[in-house]
């Protein structure tokens, strides 16, 4: 019971509202959060569960069921998805599922709807550009596919996670159109080598260098994400927004 002269506890999650609701991470002590955050935190947990379930359903061929699961979550979470971050994650998974199912026209539409939600992170743009390129290429529109990919890669992602697939796509789409990889992407190749702490491969063409980089980084995380590199914590997290 709160004494009359005691200040109300503030919710650790939003640092804004009075904390009234019990909440605990698995294995962690009970804390108090505000009602708004409790709903949001529960929904965030459910989102991860739903995304995993949907991918699993899709892998077993139950595509429509997987999509329905996503739709049901969107409907349920609409009220508390204030910054649309749940919707953006759902949009990504929807595009992946449709593309994997060979439903490219729908995948293209899903990518359009995803873009409508806006992007708050460069990595989202990259994934969006990549998924869009997959769909457009499969629909026989490699020129648009390359444009979508290049547009996304034009925003410099500070993390460069799973960059290999994007480099390979860039090379293959360029080849498909009978053109070399645009030399402007040399700086991207250099950024990848730097981020992953590897030597730039000594191939003659940019395309070959990119393919070699893709191969070399396949099982790696960039330096900024390695626990061994972050021991002293002197490194600041990368620049967040564009």
């Amino acid at each position: 019971m709160q004494a009359p002269d005691e200040k109300p506890e503030i919710c650790w999650s939003c640092n804004e509202n009075e904390a009234t609701e019990p909440f605990a991470y698995p294995g962690a002590p009970l804390t108090l959060v505000c009602a708004r955050c409790l709903e949001w935190l529960s929904m965030r947990d459910e989102l991860e569960h739903v995304l995993g379930q949907s991918l699993e359903l899709a892998e077993r061929g139950h595509i429509d069921e997987a999509l329905e699961r996503l739709n049901a979550f969107l409907e349920k979470s609409r009220g508390c998805d204030h910054d649309r971050r749940f919707a953006r994650r759902v949009a990504h998974v929807r595009a992946m599922i449709l593309s994997d199912a060979g439903r490219y026209a729908e995948a293209e539409q899903a990518c359009k709807a995803w873009a409508q939600l806006g992007f708050t992170r460069v990595s989202e743009r990259w994934e969006h550009g990549f998924e869009t390129a997959l769909a457009l290429d499969a629909l026989g529109r490699p020129r648009e596919a390359l444009a979508a990919l290049e547009d996304a890669l034009g925003h410099r992602d500070p993390y460069l996670f799973s960059v290999g697939e994007k480099l390979v796509a860039l090379v293959e789409l360029s080849e498909k159109l009978g053109q070399p990889v645009d030399p402007k992407w040399q700086s991207l190749a250099e950024a990848v080598a730097e981020a992953y702490g590897i030597e730039m491969p000594a191939h003659e063409s940019l395309a070959e260098r990119m393919l070699a980089l893709a191969e070399m980084t396949r099982e790696m995380l960039p330096k900024c994400a390695r626990d061994s590199e972050n021991d002293d914590r002197t490194r600041k997290p990368p620049q967040l927004d564009e």
């Binding site: 640092n15 294995g27 899709a58 892998e59 077993r60 994997d100 626990d227």
Partner: protein
């Protein structure tokens, strides 16, 4: 009741079925290997797998209300003949147990010799085939599909046509490089979030130190498909 799918399959596949009546003393044990007939002779579902499909039907046919059903599967076959994945493309059965049972039976079969002819006619370097990223994992879908001789099962008065299309796939380093597993795609945003909120909450510091081991948590996420919130608690919701 012949539905749209069964009717169209009947027409399209008039080339002949592997006909496997079930029940009335013609159970899978001692059932001779189903024979092909008509002009549709070609690669077929192995006898042992046909028996398993029959068993699936036998166990569930009693639940079905209609008399005729069709189910179409796509299977991805490695060069060795190993089936990497079996997925339902379309099904009229609507009984999860029968469908999953059949899916498992097809997943366990081996189709040696079916893939090689596909490869010779496969286009070079199928680009960015997203099919290859899915259930099939790190494989590249190589070429045109081959329809196996359809299997016709009769169980407890219910007829089920099982149509299987084999797709040749090849596991290549290139394919692996191209397509990180999808679960990784789910974990990357959480890794970013962790890297941007690297400090452990106070209540976690005695157990896990001052900073989150985001890489270790990411590895856990990729392996177990769940982010370990005990080791790397996710930050709260900041009001916009």
């Amino acid at each position: 009741m012949a539905t749209r799918l069964t009717a169209s399959l009947g027409l399209a596949l008039g080339l002949g079925f592997v006909f496997t009546p079930f029940g009335c003393g013609s159970g899978p044990i001692g059932n001779p290997r189903p024979s092909h007939h008509g002009s549709g002779d070609g690669p077929s579902v192995p006898a042992a797998t046909v028996s398993e499909l029959e068993a699936c039907a036998e166990h569930g046919a009693g639940r079905l209300k209609g008399t005729h059903y069709a189910i179409i599967f796509d299977v991805d076959v490695m060069e060795s003949g190993e089936v990497r994945a079996a997925k339902i493309r379309e099904s009229e059965i609507g009984d999860r147990e029968i469908e999953t049972c059949m899916e498992h039976a097809l997943q366990a079969m081996s189709l040696p010799g079916v893939v090689t002819p596909l490869r010779s006619s496969a286009p070079e370097g199928v680009m960015l085939s997203p099919h290859a990223r899915g259930a099939m994992g790190n494989v590249v879908v190589l070429g045109p599909a081959v329809s196996l001789v359809p299997v016709l099962i009769v169980a407890a008065g219910v007829t089920i046509i099982v149509v299987v299309t084999a797709h040749a796939v090849e596991e290549t380093a290139e394919a692996i490089r191209r397509r990180p597993r999808k679960v990784e795609k789910l974990c990357y945003p959480l890794l970013e979030e962790c890297l941007e909120n690297p400090w452990q909450p106070e209540w976690n510091r005695r157990k896990f130190g001052n900073y989150k081991q985001c890489e270790a948590c990411f590895d856990h996420c990729v392996k177990k498909a769940v982010w370990p919130e005990d080791k790397c608690p996710r930050p709260g919701s900041r009001p916009k």
